[in-house]
Symmetry: C2
Subunit: 469 residues, 2 copies
């Protein structure tokens, strides 16, 4: 039965989607509807399929609180007709979902987010046929959390008040749980989000459809993906290859030990093999691979805010010695180099600040404040031997104040070279990040993370331009 659906889908829906502007427009309505209807029940409380009055109410709460356009909710216990809307969000058990989806389609709904799951193959097939008949695009079933688009306040999740700020990183998650963790992370650390998608079961809309939408979305600069597997592997690689030159794609691949995860068997040999296939595919597709959730965000943040890095030579400008040494270690560990500063740069800096020993890392001493950071950063960025800079500005044990960090984006914007900032520590990180959060300078709490971020900017340069410098 599943095979039949997939054949059906490949023949019709996806081909339609790949070629027709019409189908693309309807995918856009998943993320940018001008009107939304939420269809659920104030009575039905399933155990498995997740339909519940609470979940229904929570989505309604978020939509009423955040959504900027026309929103209506339909409790099937109280009403029996759907009003027209661009998008319907459905939170009902499988058979009721299909029946209400058909009503919605007849009323003119053009896109559906099916939150709940638990569909049999038979009902899935009905649902897909219906969507094709009405040319309606369907996300799900079993998306659990649906989508988030902060720009228009669209938030179909059932977690109240979990709304990220607007930004340029778009996220696609193949797991509800990992997706929820990613959304939690983005909200807590105020990482700006373009579009957030929980894929669910991909009966109609799949990862490639979303990628094709995001590549044209002006609110998306970076595409971050959590994936556990790919069904149409070749198609995916081909699509990603085109997109990754336009916009960076960063992937966290789960289930690298899928056999062990699924079968509770740990046969290490098979892991490397299957995982290497993904490595090869990602490389071909120009996808940047990361190892965990924080790396996914750290890489995406750098790519969203800073230009690609044209070479491997990095300068470290720091007001503390030890952390600068850790930075040098981390850069070399990532395969980058410590830039050799030119004599000219050294002379200019030494003349102005005779106390500063101008080798790289440049230790500009604990009493440095904005003026010294500004002068030295400017001349280091101007050095032709420097491809990018890691700035380290601690507060503890130093004279630096959080507001001094404002000079960093001011200076950095004059050069086309990446600059990342590391207020090493915990409270220090928070205080300086608060100042830089809306600037184009990404902040990291440890030199290690900043080195990885610069490495990613260097990798992306090769992906985008096919070469160094």
């Amino acid at each position: 039965m599943t095979t039949d659906i997939n054949q059906l889908k490949t023949k019709d829906t996806n081909q339609l989607e790949d070629k027709s502007t019409f189908a693309k427009q309807r995918i856009r309505l998943i993320f940018e509807p001008q009107s939304v209807v939420l269809i659920g029940s104030s009575k039905i409380d399933e155990e498995v399929g997740m339909t519940s009055p609470e979940l229904f109410q929570n989505i309604a709460y978020n939509m009423k609180k955040y959504y900027k356009y026309t929103f209506s909710e339909l409790d099937i216990e109280k009403s029996d007709s759907v009003s027209q809307a661009d998008l319907a969000i459905i939170v009902l058990p499988p058979e009721q979902s299909v029946s209400w989806a058909e009503q919605a389609m007849m009323a003119g709904v053009q896109a559906i987010i099916q939150i709940t799951g638990g569909f049999s193959d038979k009902v899935r097939e009905q649902y897909l046929k219906l969507a094709m008949k009405y040319h309606v695009r369907l996300l799900g079933p079993n998306t659990i959390m649906g989508v988030v688009n902060p720009t228009i306040g669209l938030n179909t999740t059932f977690e109240r008040n979990l709304m990220p700020v607007t930004g340029k990183i778009s996220i696609l998650s193949q797991s509800g749980g990992v997706g929820a963790a990613l959304l939690d992370w983005a909200v807590f650390y105020r990482i700006g989000i373009g579009k957030f998608t929980f894929m669910g079961d991909k009966l109609d809309i799949d990862d490639i459809n979303i990628l094709n939408y995001l590549v044209e979305d002006p609110d998306t600069k970076v595409i971050a993906i959590y994936m556990e597997g790919i069904k149409a592997g070749r198609r995916f690689v081909k699509a990603a290859k085109n997109i990754s030159r336009e916009k960076p794609i960063v992937v966290l691949k789960g289930a690298i030990t899928s056999e062990s995860a699924k079968l509770a068997m740990s046969h290490t040999a098979s892991i490397a093999g299957s995982d290497n296939i993904f490595n090869a595919a990602f490389k071909e597709a120009g996808i940047i691979r990361v190892k965990d959730i924080d790396e996914l965000f750290n890489a995406s943040l750098a790519l969203a805010k800073q230009p690609p890095m044209k070479g491997k030579s990095v300068a470290v400008v720091s007001n503390v010695g030890g952390p600068a040494i850790l930075a040098a270690d981390a850069l070399v560990r990532e395969g980058l180099k410590l830039a050799h500063l030119t004599k000219k740069t050294k002379d200019i800096i030494t003349k102005r600040y005779p106390g500063v020993d101008v080798i790289n890392p440049v230790d500009i001493i604990a009493d440095a404040r904005s003026e010294r950071f500004k002068f030295i950063l400017e001349h280091v960025l101007n050095d032709p031997n420097v491809d990018g800079v890691m700035v380290i500005n601690m507060l503890k044990s130093c004279f630096f104040k959080p507001e001094d960090a404002k000079v960093i984006p001011e200076v950095a914007k004059k050069f086309g070279k990446p600059v990342v900032d590391v207020p090493v520590g915990a409270e220090d990180f928070k205080l300086v990040s608060d100042i830089l959060i809306e600037s184009p300078i990404p902040t990291y709490d440890l030199p290690d993370k900043a080195a990885k971020a610069l490495k990613v900017l260097f990798e992306y340069n090769k992906i985008k331009f096919g070469k160094e410098k």
Copy 2:
């Protein structure tokens, strides 16, 4: 000149320290004085050596705010005699420091923390000879921040209000900047600290002296070190080898690329070589090596709170699927195994919770709360095939509430097996950590970090007992 000092030191002070209870007792006064005098100036404001009225005032502020015993401050601009105290903290330029140190020694002071630096070899030699003459132990010069002992409120740092909570991790830093970052981290994340030491220039007291003190200190369960180099390498390895069987030693080694850091040259070949020497030395010494600041804390936290792990087989008990897959990936990446649960365990759990598919990772489903976690964790821990457990309890997209986490330490304490907890995410992590912070269960925000922590517990089992199981 430096060589002379070192010879002097090796012949006398350190030998004295290694053999004499008397010298050890005086080292203890660095951390556990019953009376402290702070000697500084309200006028002198150096640029290089760090003497300043502000720094003097800040240390006085911290001592007055936190210290539990007798504290007095001596402003050399206003007074000319030192009253007796166990410990003197000196914040003056080099020559004044030596002169006032002598007065303090004559008044009966038995230990000195020399905060400021900038000493010439000649003055260093004077200082050391003086200390030896009076049998006074000296930490520094150039310790910058000195020591912290939260149990008695001793805090000689010049950062106001940077006071960690009491705990069992003792930290030794060879860098002021990295040390300040570690202290910031410990305070911000409420990681309990036994003793904190900023080593400075080690004119008298060196790392080995501190290790010998910490191994006998009841407030120290784990010793965490940031080091950039070791002078007496063989002596250090020998000392660490004895200590590491009693108490775990975790080391973050900076300057693995010291040549590159110092000479601004990146010749990768030399790095691996010199770094491998450290790897070999650490292995011989039973030292656990980590790669960055967060790993240092993550490992120390596990070692301070949980028993060593006797084997490699780990069970994952999770209320979400995706993160459990990331956990399985991370465990296998760390060289650990997914435990094969026995048929008995599977039967007991399946009988009580037919919806739960009892393979490892055990996905106990998003609606699990304390009762289900308790029952399943208990039976998984009781399984003879399980050496340790990673619990994953997300709040977002789940029914779990932070207070439900209280059952985890309750169950874990009945078994001698390590249990770590992962409320995956950011706000989720904070909310659950708030509940568990004083319990013996360490919490991590990502499965990757928890897997590394379990790996360290497994490594330490081999160090302590020399074998698996």
